[in-house]
């Protein structure tokens, strides 16, 4: 690869004209890039240092993660990019990645001799902006500056979005300047940085804050406030200005919020792509959930009662649901939905799990209601397992479903997220969307099953809400909707497959590319790893912000689900693109099928297959998924290994779907337009 001019790979040219702004265009960019290298292997460390010096970067090396972190903390603006090994004795590279993302928001490149796709995927989902396989060649290092530029560019864009007209004017200039990817090496990146600062400054003046703001570090508390605000507003209504007002943090500007919001959305999207994690989760869940599956399958109509009977649904939720008039009876059509919803629940939960040990705690402590709906997405597999056990409710079912659906999770995850708090209704039971309360119960069940296609919307939200909601679990019933929304948000964070996220999920051959592209797309938001920590508190908040994101992704999956009647209005309310909703209304069976296909994949190679399956589903808005699924569906029954309880569920779903009819033939994912995610 012709890295020697890495920029060469990026196409265009940028122009010296753009750079002018007074700064001397220096041919030295990216010389002077300040790199921090962390690796416990002294040989590699020395080689890397030498290579980076040869690239004219300023290198600092560290052989321990802890010392790297303290270096970064002391010197917040002292580095532009971090390169870290994955396997280190004192701290896992991914953890370091998360810390850096959370505290310093620097681009981080992971590297390892391990080229196993699952590990690379982990890097992607944790927010690494690139992943290098050892032995690292110097050409690969010559190109790392692109990540720095890209990040800055994204930040500019964020500022732009929330900016005023003036900003808009400046924007093009900024973008150009930021466009180093194009062949322009001119201008040191420092110049562009300065320029950006200037612009920010100007923007600031135009904006509420008057002084040039220093780079904002999104601490955990700040982020939580942010997520709470977004949650409150609803992902699609969450505009920076309002978020800023809600947050009421002195010194914070709209641009800060806007940029953070954008990242957040991308992060959620990216999370939804973590099918791998979900797979893991699924496995753990499946085992425990088997019993429940059987129940679920019979829940076509999602009888809350049934759920309750199975012990899945907490009495409260059941009551609520009923009160809400879910009218399970009508659920017939929606049957698939409930199941699917459950899957959704799980699906998003799984991704969450990955991120959040914290979640676990959250989950276990959450009341049953929460558990139902809110299987914390961040929950790690064990956490999820805990959840299941604790909740044993539908959520548990969902979880399982999710587990199996992990593959389908991307889809599922997305759904929940997209739903704003109140929207729980739509989430789960599709058809019942309007019925929030009822959907509560259902979603969990269906979520699990629908793995995200159908249920996503409703279920995800619900689940999330319960688990993560700031709303106390006790209030779950009433606050269920609230919870759900929070759930939703959580789900969002897990976006499995939203198109952007999906790209990261694809494990297929293009994996490598995907990884990078996925990462790039999200700008490698390591900061979103906050989820882990946040989920304790508000994990789901995140999700809400991206309801759109995830939803979109899920929508793709949903088209199949015809059964899910997520009422468009509800969905819209939730901020899901309307197309998404249609997706949901598709056959739930599709989801199930999709899940199966995913499930199949899991047999062989969980993640990869799942991703592959998901990928087509999610990303490819094509009938491909359908094709895949159908055969899968038929072979479902014995597809999965024992622990995949999904089979029962799936077969149940499939049966229903067959009854349902034609939906299957409508697998177009045209409903999906991830881009519909309202901003």
């Amino acid at each position: 690869m012709n890295l020697s001019n890495g920029k060469g790979s990026m196409s265009t040219v940028t122009t010296t004209a753009v750079m002018k702004s007074g700064d001397a265009v220096s041919d030295q960019f990216p010389a002077g890039l300040r790199v921090l290298v962390v690796d416990d292997d002294p040989t590699c460390l020395m080689i890397l240092e030498k290579m980076l010096r040869t690239c004219l970067y300023e290198v600092t090396k560290c052989n321990r993660a802890e010392s790297a972190l303290s270096l970064l903390r002391e010197n917040k603006n002292g580095f532009d990019i971090v390169i870290s090994d994955v396997h280190m004795p004192d701290m896992n590279g991914f953890k370091l990645l998360e810390h850096i993302g959370l505290e310093m928001d620097l681009p981080v490149i992971m590297m390892s001799a391990d080229e196993c796709k699952s590990v690379v995927m982990k890097g992607v989902t944790h927010g690494a902006c690139d992943y290098l396989i050892k032995p690292v060649r110097i050409e690969a290092l010559k190109n790392i500056w692109q990540h720095v530029v890209r990040k800055k560019k994204n930040e500019w864009k964020d500022a732009e979005q929330s900016g005023s007209a003036e900003e808009g004017d400046r924007q093009p200039k900024a973008s150009d300047e930021a466009d180093y990817s194009s062949s322009a090496n001119e201008g040191s990146w420092r110049n562009s940085k300065k320029r950006r600062d200037e612009e920010e400054e100007a923007e600031d003046r135009d904006d509420t804050s008057t002084l040039k703001k220093p780079r904002v570090v999104w601490s955990v508390e700040l982020h939580q406030q942010f997520v709470a605000a977004v949650d409150q507003l609803g992902i699609d209504k969450a505009v920076p200005k309002k978020i800023l007002e809600l947050m009421n943090v002195p010194g914070l500007t709209r641009e800060n919020v806007a940029s953070h919001l954008q990242k957040y959305r991308l992060y959620l999207r990216r999370l939804s792509g973590v099918s791998q994690h979900q797979n893991n989760l699924n496995n753990s869940f499946l085992g425990s959930q088997e019993a429940t599956f059987g129940t679920i399958s019979s829940i076509n109509g999602i009888d809350l009662q049934t759920l309750a009977v199975t012990g899945q649904l907490p009495a409260q939720s059941l009551a609520t649901l009923q009160a809400a008039g879910l009218g399970r009876s009508t659920a017939k059509t929606g049957v698939p939905m409930p199941l699917m919803d459950q899957r959704n629940l799980f699906s998003f939960e799984n991704p969450r799990v990955r991120f959040g040990e914290g979640q676990q705690q959250h989950l276990s402590s959450s009341k049953p209601m929460n558990l139902l709906l809110g299987i914390p997405t961040n929950m790690e597999p064990k956490q999820l397992a805990n959840l299941h056990q604790s909740t044993q409710s539908i959520a548990g079912l969902n979880m399982r479903v999710n587990a199996s659906a992990t593959q389908g999770n991307p889809l599922m995850m997305q759904m929940p997220q997209s739903q704003p708090r109140g929207q729980m209704l739509s989430e789960k039971t599709g058809p019942r969307v309007p019925r929030l309360p009822s959907s509560l119960g259902q979603p969990t069940v269906s979520n699990g099953i629908s793995n995200g296609f159908l249920g996503r919307n409703g279920i995800a939200g619900n689940n999330r809400g319960t688990a993560y909601n700031p709303v106390p679990p006790n209030s779950s019933l009433l606050s269920f909707p609230m919870n759900q929304s929070s759930e939703v948000s959580v789900n969002n964070s897990l976006p499995l497959g939203s198109s952007p996220g999906i790209s990261s999920i694809t494990t297929k051959g293009s994996f490598q590319e995907e990884v990078t592209s996925g990462i790039k797309a999200s700008g490698g938001f390591p900061s979103y790893d906050i989820f882990n920590e946040l989920h304790h508190q508000k994990s789901h908040d995140w999700e809400i912000t991206n309801p759109g994101l995830t939803y979109g992704a899920s929508h793709h999956a949903n088209p199949l689900q015809g059964n899910i009647d997520v009422s468009p209005s509800v969905l819209v309310h939730q901020g899901f693109s309307s197309t998404q909703q249609t997706g949901q209304t598709r056959d739930a069976t599709l989801i199930g099928k999709a899940m199966f296909s995913l499930g199949e994949g899991s047999e062989q190679d969980n993640l990869q297959n799942a991703v592959q399956h998901l990928h087509p589903l999610l990303v490819d808005n094509s009938i491909r998924v359908k094709a895949e699924r159908i055969p899968d569906a038929s072979s479902q029954t014995n597809l999965f290994p024992d622990h995949y309880v999904q089979e029962d569920l799936m077969s149940a779903l499939l049966k229903q779907q067959e009854g349902m009819g034609p939906a299957e033939s409508e697998f177009e994912f045209d409903a999906y337009s991830l881009d519909n995610i309202p901003v």
Partner: protein
């Protein structure tokens, strides 16, 4: 000995190393990194590699001698050895490590033990070769010559 004689000798010695797979393109990269500012870069990295590898091999031997074997730890060590050997360009060592890791996963003690033997052997071979190679290089430089670059296409 004349410089060009030395250079020829160097090439005659080194080329087969590549052809036989002891070393790979990564080593060439290291050589290219060496310049007047860092005339001993390769020698330094190589000796670091030796130190590190010997430590790892000792740890591995020790671990495999235990009554209850901790495969995770062994895998971690092998992984690291794989990483450093691949960064140096010690291809055969790296390949051994890959096989070693597979056996670790399977928790096959006997296979692991034999892999360890193999790794040690390969390591000794490559160590000798590298030491000789570096000595030859240093001779050339001391005589005022420059180290000839290898022309291979990998």
């Amino acid at each position: 000995m004349e410089v060009d004689q030395m250079q020829r000798q160097y090439l005659d010695y080194t080329k087969p190393l590549f052809l036989e797979g002891f070393l790979d393109g990564q080593f060439l990269q290291l050589q290219q990194l060496q310049d007047e500012n860092n005339p001993d870069f390769v020698a330094e990295v190589v000796s670091l590699f030796f130190e590190d590898s010997e430590r790892l091999l000792n740890d591995l031997t020790f671990s495999l001698e235990q009554k209850s074997i901790d495969f995770k730890k062994i895998d971690a060590h092998v992984h690291q050895l794989k990483g450093s050997s691949s960064s140096i360009g010690a291809q055969r060592v790296k390949n051994c490590c890959i096989a070693f890791r597979n056996f670790c996963e399977e928790q096959n003690i006997d296979a692991c033990l034999s892999c360890l033997q193999q790794v040690k052997q390969e390591y000794c071979h490559v160590k000798n070769k590298l030491e000789t190679l570096i000595r030859l290089e240093q001779q050339i430089v001391a005589a005022g010559g420059s180290i000839p670059t290898m022309e291979f296409s990998f």
